[in-house]
């Protein structure tokens, strides 16, 4: 519906380009990553993203599964008409929330995917008028709430948590630890990027745009989300020593185990829309949307807690998955 309105519009806009990075910055203004000189505003952001550089080998399912790690995907389709490099495809993905799109862009852009390198960019030109209106409203609300809560001094490291939580939790304290990677483990849902290990906060170039992912979920009035965040945030000190998700799992294994787990969940629960035959995750995902806390240890904790909760919910769920994965890997 929304997407079809814009179907005829496949222009290549300037904001799709990967701009040249700036190499003339003095040391004190260097950020964590090389970046172009560019100003981010809400106008450039969107819950619609375009993924370029997807190898044309029939991996749409895998791509959408990967996207879904960052939040519920509402719609997606290949953009056949959009100019693509040889042997690659371009996809349009519409997330339910802007924050998910932001996390997906941040984590997926520039990563390799089945031998290709993904380029992920926002495509606000696919928005409807209503999309644009809501985007601006959400942003205004978010800023107003954030500045209202600002009376308390907010440490830079608090980003993983809602601002409202700051007074009650000690998260900032914990997340400022130098982070050690936990031992590798098979049961892992989320992709981690090593460069995040040392850098839990925004950089010196003010690219906060992507650095406030977690807190910006605040304006979305989804009560369940917020309350569960509240539960999760103060948790690290209780659980972090048990350690959780590992960092490296071969991608195929990772995707296979995910798929298998989803299929099992479809059998187990009623919440799920599609059968095994409908391979694609599509709009409604069996998983809660990925919360990117912008902090490795918090992310780890989130996935640990989710894992634990799953275990509690359905005891046989977790173990079989792990057992099944192993033989498959040896092959």
């Amino acid at each position: 519906c929304d997407l079809s309105v814009a179907r005829l519009d496949h222009k290549v806009y300037k904001h799709h380009e990967q701009r040249k990075v700036c190499i003339s910055r003095p040391k004190y203004r260097e950020g964590r990553r090389a970046k172009a000189v560019k100003v981010y505003t809400i106008n450039l952001e969107s819950r619609h993203v375009m993924v370029q550089g997807v190898p044309a080998i029939g991996v749409m399912t895998e791509l959408i599964q990967l996207c879904a790690l960052y939040g519920a995907v509402e719609e997606y389709r290949p953009l056949d008409e959009y100019p693509a490099e040889e042997f690659t495809e371009v996809y349009l993905v519409k997330f339910q929330k802007l924050t998910s799109a932001r996390a997906a862009k941040r984590h997926m852009n520039g990563t390799s995917f089945y031998g290709g390198v993904l380029h992920v960019c926002y495509v606000p030109e696919y928005e409807t008028v209503e999309d644009t209106r809501m985007k601006l409203q959400d942003r205004r609300r978010y800023v107003i709430r954030a500045v209202q809560n600002k009376e308390m001094v907010i440490p830079a490291h608090d980003k993983p948590c809602d601002r409202e939580n700051t007074e009650t939790s000690n998260v900032s304290h914990y997340s400022s630890f130098p982070l050690l990677p936990p031992p590798p483990q098979e049961y892992q849902y989320y992709r981690h990027k090593t460069q995040h290990l040392a850098a839990p906060t925004e950089d010196r170039m003010g690219t906060l745009h992507s650095a406030i992912i977690a807190s910006e979920q605040q304006p979305v009035p989804s009560s369940s989300q917020t309350s569960s965040d509240r539960v999760r945030c103060p948790e690290p000190r209780l659980t972090s020593n048990q350690s959780a998700a590992g960092r490296f799992v071969p991608r195929t294994t990772h995707l296979e185990s995910r798929k298998r787990r989803m299929e099992e969940e479809t059998e187990h629960s009623l919440t799920n829309v599609t059968r095994k035959t409908a391979l694609l995750i599509g709009p409604k995902l069996p998983e809660p949307p990925k919360v990117d806390m912008e902090d490795e240890s918090l992310n780890t904790t989130v996935s640990l807690i989710r894992g634990t909760m799953k275990k509690v919910e359905s005891v046989p769920d977790l173990k079989p998955v792990e057992k099944k994965v192993k033989p498959r890997r040896r092959i």
């Binding site: 000189v37 601006l136 830079a156």
Partner: protein
């Protein structure tokens, strides 16, 4: 934790101050652009609003709007777009004669600049500023944008027309525009 927090925020303030100082002191156009972009991006995060206000970065951005360098204008306008989300910054921009300066950016050749200007104008709309922002000239501009080929420009202009103005105002502006076009289309008398 509190102690840590306050030292970190004073670090942030000092850092932003260093940026502002470099911006003022440097003769390098390139460095100025980089710093300006940095400041505009810092303005995206509400937690910097206080500092940026104290450092009078709102005025710095406003000053950029009349520069010849189009990057300065784009980055300054982007910074204002980010800052104006905050009501206090909005008021400062309004007091600094921001409406007129921002309105001038509507005729920029760069789409990003125009988009920032439209969003900023929407952010600047308060009960007391509304009449100035819904001036007939601005409305006509938005009406033209709403017919643009660019979906982003079209959408944003549509939101402006729907949310910031009354239907009567829009209808009136439409009439005036048609009037103008009709007048332009009429051949001049030959004698």
């Amino acid at each position: 934790m509190w102690k840590k927090g306050s030292s970190e925020s004073s670090d942030r303030f000092e850092y932003l101050q260093t940026l502002v100082t470099e911006f003022q002191d440097t003769d390098s156009e390139e460095a100025k652009e980089q710093v300006l972009a940095n400041l505009a991006n810092f303005a995206y995060d509400p937690k910097n609003m206080d500092y940026l206000r104290q450092l009078q970065v709102t005025d710095l951005f406003l000053d950029m709007l009349t520069e010849d360098n189009e990057n300065f204008v784009e980055f300054g306008m982007g910074g204002l777009c980010n800052l104006s989300m905050d009501p206090e910054c909005r008021d400062i921009i309004l007091q600094g004669g921001g409406i007129r300066l921002v309105t001038n950016c509507l005729s920029s050749r760069r789409e990003e600049t125009v988009l920032s200007a439209i969003t900023t104008l929407m952010n600047l709309t308060t009960p007391s500023s509304r009449s100035e922002i819904t001036d007939a000239a601005i409305l006509q501009c938005m009406l033209r944008f709403s017919l643009s080929e660019s979906p982003r420009l079209r959408n944003l202009a549509a939101v402006f027309l729907q949310d910031c103005c009354t239907e009567e105002q829009v209808a009136q502006a439409e009439q005036q525009m048609q009037g103008q076009q009709a007048a332009v289309g009429i051949p001049l008398p030959e004698d």
